[in-house]
């Protein structure tokens, strides 16, 4: 039997964001804090009431009823707010006579999708977009967001406050973009989801449960996009495919001490076949239509990484995909990964020549790669590069990984 103490945090995650999205859509983005307050109050009341009377038969329905009543109360007792909001509501729905708060599954999904478009707005920087997404779309607590960003509550609170101010100033609306703008607007959402996923996947936070949650939330939001007819575009499918492939290695990429296990050293029996199959499904969906995005190439690269055999063919395919990805969009990490694939496909000597052209002099990963390439070719040079890498690396995890490579040579 679940107790209120266990159930409430779980429901908070799933239901807080739904209530907030529906109410904020009804009130307009300028009143988003009122929507958040009503959602928070609802959970506060749940904690009090359920502690005394026990958990109701249908906790979600209970929460929705309370949220609806709180919203109506608020409108009744705040004449100024009420006037503004009623005008807003009448504008959006002319048939409305009495305030109806629609917490049906369809309206929840629509509201959350529209909220995604409102938040993933280039007017605020990507960190603010991710922070707001975590709070408003994923129901994360401020403390959890601070943990994910290796920051503190105060900083995160300030950042979210400023972001909301900015969006209000920009008069951001919680609505679906025009059909002609969908493609362009979805790209902004995908960028945020991609970064949100990476924040979880590559985060330096020691809290591995939290990191997985970040990834799964990015996947859940991405799933909302592909489930909706107007936003189900190839690049959205490609990104979801990429996330599925990466997530399939969750269990294999850290050991029991929480340390990172390199791809080459992973126990492949820990790879999640169900997620790999899902990744393949969305990769096929991504191939429908003419659009080809960087997510397509990244997903295809991730697809080849799910293959357990290590024949040169696999790495040749990965190399060619990196060649194409780099022609769409340069990034230092893609350049480094391309060079690694080149070594696996065509041998270290060729890759060393290419690596020395990259000149990513301040990047510890660059020297780690050079260290790897020179290992068993010229161990003295390998050691020198790894020592440079060690001096440039900032995080404990990175330093430990480099130390391991150094120990292997010695």
């Amino acid at each position: 039997m679940q107790t209120g103490k266990q159930l409430i945090p779980h429901l908070f995650r799933t239901e807080y964001s739904k209530i907030t999205a529906v109410l904020a859509r009804l009130f307009g983005f300028e009143h988003i804090e009122i929507a958040e307050d009503i959602a928070s109050d609802t959970f506060l009341l749940a904690a009090e009431t359920w502690g005394i009377k026990g958990i109701p038969e249908n906790p979600v329905a209970w929460l929705y009823t309370v949220a609806k009543n709180r919203a109506k109360d608020h409108l009744k007792h705040n004449a100024i707010f009420s006037d503004k909001v009623v005008i807003h509501i009448q504008k959006t729905n002319t048939e409305l006579h009495e305030l109806e708060i629609d917490l049906s599954p369809q309206n929840i999904v629509d509201s959350q999708l529209q909220m995604m478009f409102a938040i993933c707005n280039p007017a605020i920087n990507t960190e603010a977009q991710i922070g707001l997404s975590l709070r408003i779309l994923c129901g994360f607590g401020i403390e959890e967001i601070a943990d994910a960003f290796l920051s503190n509550k105060e900083t995160i609170n300030k950042r979210l406050f400023r972001a909301k101010e900015k969006l209000r100033k920009e008069k951001v609306k919680i609505e679906f973009p025009k059909p002609s703008e969908i493609n362009y607007r979805v790209q902004a959402v995908l960028t945020t989801l991609y970064l949100l996923f990476n924040e979880g996947y590559y985060s330096l936070s020691q809290n591995s449960t939290l990191r997985k949650d970040l990834c799964f939330e990015a996947m859940r939001l991405n799933f909302l996009l592909v489930e909706n007819k107007s936003t189900n575009i190839p690049s959205a499918n490609a990104l979801l495919s990429l996330m599925c492939f990466h997530a399939s290695r969750f269990e294999a990429r850290t050991n029991t001490n929480g340390e990172i296990v390199l791809y080459e050293d992973q126990d492949t029996s820990l790879w999640d076949n169900e997620l790999i199959t899902q990744g393949e499904f969305y990769l096929n969906k991504a191939a429908e239509g003419n659009e080809i995005s960087k997510y397509h190439f990244e997903a295809a690269i991730a697809y080849w990484h799910t293959k357990k055999n290590n024949n040169p063919d696999k790495w040749e395919n990965i190399l060619q995909l990196y060649n194409k990805l780099l022609l769409i969009e340069y990034s230092p990490i893609a350049a480094l990964n391309r060079t690694y694939a080149l070594a696996r496909a065509n041998g270290k000597p060729i890759a060393i020549k290419e690596a020395e052209k990259l000149k990513l002099d301040n990047n510890h990963l660059y020297y780690s790669l050079l260290g790897y390439l020179y290992t068993d070719v010229d161990n003295e040079k390998a050691l020198a590069h790894l020592k440079t890498a060690l001096s440039l690396a900032k995080s404990k995890t990175d330093k430990e990984m480099i130390m391991k490579s150094i120990d292997k040579i010695r």
Binding site: Q320, N323, K324, L327, Y330, A335, L342, E354, K357
Partner: protein, 115 residues
């Protein structure tokens, strides 16, 4: 950073239709070379590969068949790269697969509109 256009030229040939296998063999060095330039963040515009057929339009309504009526070699394609100096652009061109085919690369700085 300045921009340079690389013009790839080779002797015109009436090569027979290539099999997909042969096509793959020819395109791999190109993909690797372009990938290498891209990994160095030197590509401005990937450019294009040009078909063999075409026409040349001349004054007084004269149109000749194909681009190669009077010249021995034809333009195969082009790419735009960025480099600090002409010397660097020349260095980057030295790995071009057209050279292994007996062709050549013409490296020309692009004149910026505002200069």
């Amino acid at each position: 950073m300045k921009e340079f256009i690389l013009l790839f030229r080779n002797a015109s040939s009436n090569a027979p239709q290539l099999t997909p296998e042969q096509m793959k063999e020819i395109s791999k060095p190109w993909q690797d070379w372009m990938g290498s330039l891209a990994a160095q963040n030197k590509i401005v515009n990937i450019g294009a590969r040009l078909a063999n057929e075409g026409a040349t339009v001349k004054p007084e309504d004269v149109v000749t068949d194909g681009p190669y009526a009077e010249i021995k070699e034809i333009l195969l394609g082009f790419t735009i790269i960025k480099a600090d100096t002409l010397e660097e652009a020349i260095e980057l061109s030295k790995g071009c697969p057209v050279l292994a085919m007996g062709g050549n690369v013409e490296v020309r700085p692009i004149v910026q509109m505002n200069s």
